[in-house]
């Protein structure tokens, strides 16, 4: 088991490294952060020395060969330094600091959304499969079908509009912008209350999409399990339908779900990007959009590294789960 996980983790680390390197090289090759030094952005000409210094400090000098810049970036990566933000805005903040500020904001969303979505999806999918063709099954399947047919922004809009409608009607609603209220004193009860309330709608959005796809997968695997020989054996031993499903079926149905879980966190990141944009959260997703928008090479690479690590962790977690559930792959 430990060996199995170790090998898988090693593979993931290699893949994550390749993905990040790939992203860095692409960003460095495609983006032009030096544009900030020339018109129309720069209003007056920048002296050559100053320009060179500016570019070198940020490791984005187009005169330095790409591979050399990459090597410098890698050297920084080994020391835990991801460079500084660059791009068309001249501020120079270490990417690590920027990420450190933003990750807690994004992560609470991603983790909460994934967990609630997965659990709800698994439960709904199983119920839909066991009580096949019941009203509950039809409703779940129909709802999942519609949610999966809508892009995330539309789902967010529907949730926000509903909230707005309630607010208009009753005068009470959930906060639709910002994860924290800067006007409230930090650590106070009101501030916590605001944070929790602000989390509700984004979490609903992420959980809905996750639950919709999970319920579909779970229904398929559960239907497989329901037709299996071992479940019949379990019932032949004297377990009722429900007992057999709980004791033998559930664990078997969850095994293939582990694989899907590996992708769930990546999906949650994509979802959180829309959420952060539309709820005005200063998270990693928003940082990604602004980094790419303003040609921030180091920032972009930093975001890619973050998502790669996220995927790596969730894939490892999925492997561990699968290993724990299934003695055959240990």
């Amino acid at each position: 088991m430990a060996r199995f996980v170790a090998i898988r983790v090693l593979t993931y680390v290699i893949l994550a490294f390749l993905a990040t390197s790939f992203a860095y090289l692409l960003a460095a090759a495609l983006m032009n952060p030096q544009e900030v030094l020339y018109p129309p952005i720069a209003t007056e000409p920048v002296p050559y020395e100053t320009a060179q210094h500016y570019l070198n400090v940020r490791n984005v000098n187009p005169d330095t060969p790409l591979m050399e810049r990459y090597a410098r970036w890698l050297g920084g990566l080994v020391r835990g330094d991801l460079g500084v933000t660059t791009g068309t805005n001249k501020s120079m903040v270490p990417v690590v600091d920027e990420l450190a500020n933003r990750i807690p904001i994004s992560l609470r969303l991603v983790i909460l959304g994934t967990i609630i979505g997965t659990v709800a999806g698994v439960l709904l999918g199983m119920v839909a499969a066991v009580a096949r063709d019941s009203i509950g099954d039809r409703l779940t399947t129909l709802l999942a079908f519609f949610i999966l047919s809508l892009p995330t922004p539309v789902i967010i809009l529907i949730v926000q509009q509903t909230n707005q409608g309630i607010m208009d009607a009753t005068g009470w609603g959930l906060p639709a912008i910002n994860p924290v209220n800067p006007l409230l004193p930090e650590g106070s009860w009101a501030s916590w209350k605001y944070q929790i309330e602000a989390l509700v709608m984004p979490t609903i959005v992420l959980s809905l999409t996750a639950a919709a796809s999970y319920s579909r997968y779970m229904k398929v695997t559960t239907l497989d399990v329901l037709g299996s020989d071992y479940l019949r054996t379990a019932r032949a031993k004297g377990l009722t339908r429900g007992q057999a499903m709980n004791r033998h079926g559930l664990r078997m149905a969850l095994i293939p779900m582990g694989q899907y879980f590996a992708f769930a966190v990546g999906a949650a990141f994509t979802g959180s990007l829309f959420v952060e944009l539309m709820f005005n959260w200063q998270g990693v997703g928003r940082f990604a959009v602004s980094s790419i928008g303003m040609a921030d090479v180091n920032g972009t690479a930093g975001v890619v590294l973050y998502t790669a690590i996220l995927t790596l962790l969730s894939a490892t977690l999925a492997d561990i789960l699968q290993g724990a559930l299934d003695p055959r792959i240990r």
């Binding site: 020989d229 019949r232 031993k237 004297g238 377990l239 009722t240 078997m252």
Partner: protein, 604 residues
């Protein structure tokens, strides 16, 4: 006689399907008494399994059931799932066909057995239930039950899994045991042991038993009474002797006569109907007339010291060799023109690997393969392509060996197209080939799905014959077919051999199937040929211990003989100690080398 344990009256089961309702069981009635063994026999799709699942209350919800099932005075159809579950595993228990898929893969065997005990006796502690599970594993003849109880199903061999299933079934000393094709997935020597175990278990518990099977041989040795089913209906029922020696229904008669028998050569006399059609097959073979003596005929295939070794590797990133599996370990044999050599052995003995090595037409890892005198390793590209016409193959599964999207004519033309036959000649040959294998030329435009298993296998044979091959390799050509169909296909093959003079390499796990069709037999075990000789000689005087074991394990569809044999077996070994053949891997080392034999037994 006492009251019946189980009585089934007018049982009918239907399933909805796309083509309308399917009648799976129709008006079935039977009774089983205490200590009695009833065998329900039928071919695939006859409704025999469905009827027993109805007794267990395990049919899918879509099934509609009518009739009455009475288990020791309880009307089963009036009970709900919860009430039924108190009976299942306690009063009735069931043994399923495929022990791999029937055990939950993620729980230890011991735990699964202990579960049965604890479901019905919740007061028993987990510890005690586990001890009981170990006891039961010991009782069903599993060595080292303590250690084995902690293992998972995938660590058990097929035979051992079925033993574990039996342990589970007898855990609560049920009144009724239903065994649904318990040995179909097992090798013949394992099958004999499992049936023996089942019989002993039944006698020990005095339970009524319902055995569901397609194999008349198994029935003869096990059942007291027999019920024959065909197409959802009961055909005939009666005592085992009555059915085997004096069948009334035409269907029973044809079913019995189609069963191949390992114990009968042409001259033997018996009361049983079983095997009579196969004797006709022997006549076809003999009627072929005198042939030139074997030595005078040219060699079609010559295999010398063939090896095929697979490395066993470990590690995902850095692969290192941790051992090797000698799938084929130095075998030699030859086939002369117009001859049929049967390669017989149990699963995993290397017979399929041998066959693939021959069909590849490439240089083997070690040793040599000569086809019609030419070494396959030295062929040029063109020569190899041309040689594909000389060797062809018929596969085991007629459902899988024909592309479902091609009409029959295209399937048969495929090899001819490779050999660049003209369109006209291909069309002529398709008609001729179809009539050769007993189909009609009109069938050429149809798709494989429109044919039954036996007919598809005939198409497979027609394709193999398409380019006038010198050698046809038959890979278990009848093992996926029902027994009555099998007899027809075997007769056709024997006929083709006699008429066309083509040679066969007939691979089979079943000695009784090759009894009449083969001229010579090679018995294979763990990559080696342990015995090679004339068919009659091998059957009459098997030289190698393993051949004898194999012969003794084949069930004989003759109740009298089966009873005699059982008495001998019981004298020899008590079943508790019975060693699982497929479990001990070190026995390979103890394999005696091929003995020196007389003239008819070739030495390798």
């Amino acid at each position: 006689m006492s009251d019946p344990i189980l009585s089934v009256r007018d049982l009918s089961v239907t399933f909805p399907s796309e083509y309308g309702t399917v009648q799976a069981v129709q008006d079935l009635s039977y009774e089983v008494h205490q200590g009695e063994a009833l065998a329900i026999v039928g071919e695939s799709g006859s409704g025999k399994s469905v009827s027993s699942l109805a007794v267990m209350g395990l049919l899918p919800k879509s099934a509609s059931i009518s009739g009455e099932i009475d288990l020791m005075g309880k009307k089963l159809f009036t009970m709900d799932d919860k009430q039924l579950s108190t009976l299942r595993g306690n009063t009735i228990s069931m043994i399923f066909q495929d022990p791999l898929s029937a055990l939950t893969p993620v729980y230890q065997i011991g735990r699964q057995i202990a579960e049965v005990v604890r479901i019905h006796h919740p007061s028993v502690s987990a510890d005690k239930a586990h001890r009981r599970a170990v006891e039961l594993l010991d009782a069903v003849g599993i060595p080292e039950p303590q250690r084995r109880a902690k293992q998972y199903p995938h660590e058990f061999s097929g035979g051992m899994r079925q033993r574990a299933m039996i342990a589970m079934a007898i855990a609560n000393e049920p009144e009724l045991i239903i065994a649904d094709e318990p040995t179909t997935a097992l090798d013949v020597t394992i099958q004999a042991q499992v049936m023996e175990l089942l019989k002993s278990a039944q006698e020990m518990l005095g339970a009524a038993t319902v055995l569901i099977t397609h194999d008349m041989g198994v029935v003869a040795g096990f059942a007291d009474r027999v019920l024959v089913m065909k197409e959802a209906r009961m055909v005939e029922t009666g005592g085992v002797d009555e059915i085997f020696y004096r069948p009334r229904a035409e269907y029973t008669r044809s079913l019995l006569s189609a069963v191949p028998r390992v114990d009968l050569s042409g001259a033997d006399e018996t009361d049983a109907v079983a095997g009579s059609a196969m004797l006709d097959l022997a006549k076809i073979v003999e009627s072929a007339g005198p042939k030139a003596p074997r030595e005078k005929r040219p060699k079609v295939l010559e295999v010398t010291d063939l090896h095929r070794i697979y490395p066993i590797t470990k590690g995902a990133l850095v692969r290192r060799k941790v051992g090797e599996q000698r799938a084929v370990d130095g075998i030699s044999f030859d086939i002369r023109e117009g001859e049929c050599l049967a390669l017989v052995g149990e699963s995993g003995c290397g017979k399929t690997t041998t066959l693939m090595e021959i069909m590849q037409l490439r240089a083997p890892q070690q040793g040599s393969i000569k086809i019609a005198g030419k070494e396959t390793g030295n062929l040029s590209r063109q020569e190899r392509a041309a040689m594909r016409a000389d060797v062809s193959i018929v596969f085991q599964d007629p459902m899988a060996s024909l592309d479902p999207r091609m009409p029959i004519a295209d399937i048969i033309k495929e090899p001819m197209r490779v050999q660049r036959y003209s369109e006209k000649r291909m069309n002529e040959r398709v008609d001729w080939l179809l009539s050769m294998v007993g189909l009609l030329p009109e069938h050429a435009a149809r798709f494989p799905t429109e044919f039954s298993g036996g007919q598809r296998q005939r198409v497979g044979v027609a394709r193999a014959l398409a380019c006038d091959p010198k050698l046809i390799v038959l890979d278990e050509p009848t093992s996926a077919l029902d027994v009555t169909v099998q007899a027809g296909v075997l007769a056709m093959l024997a006929d083709l051999k006699a008429r066309l003079g083509v040679s066969f390499l007939f691979v089979s796990h079943d000695l009784s199937v090759v009894r009449h069709i083969s001229d010579r037999i090679a018995v294979m075990r763990r990559g080696k040929i342990v015995e090679l000789g004339d068919t009659d000689e091998v059957f009459a005087h098997p030289q190698h211990e393993y051949s004898r074991e194999l012969l003794a394990a084949v069930p004989i569809p003759d109740p009298e003989k089966a009873r005699q044999r059982r008495r001998q077996v019981i004298d020899r070994q008590a079943f508790e100690g019975a060693e699982d053949l497929d479990a001990d891997d070190d026995a390979a080392a103890a394999d005696p080398p091929n003995r020196d034999t007389d003239g008819s037994h070739a030495t390798n």
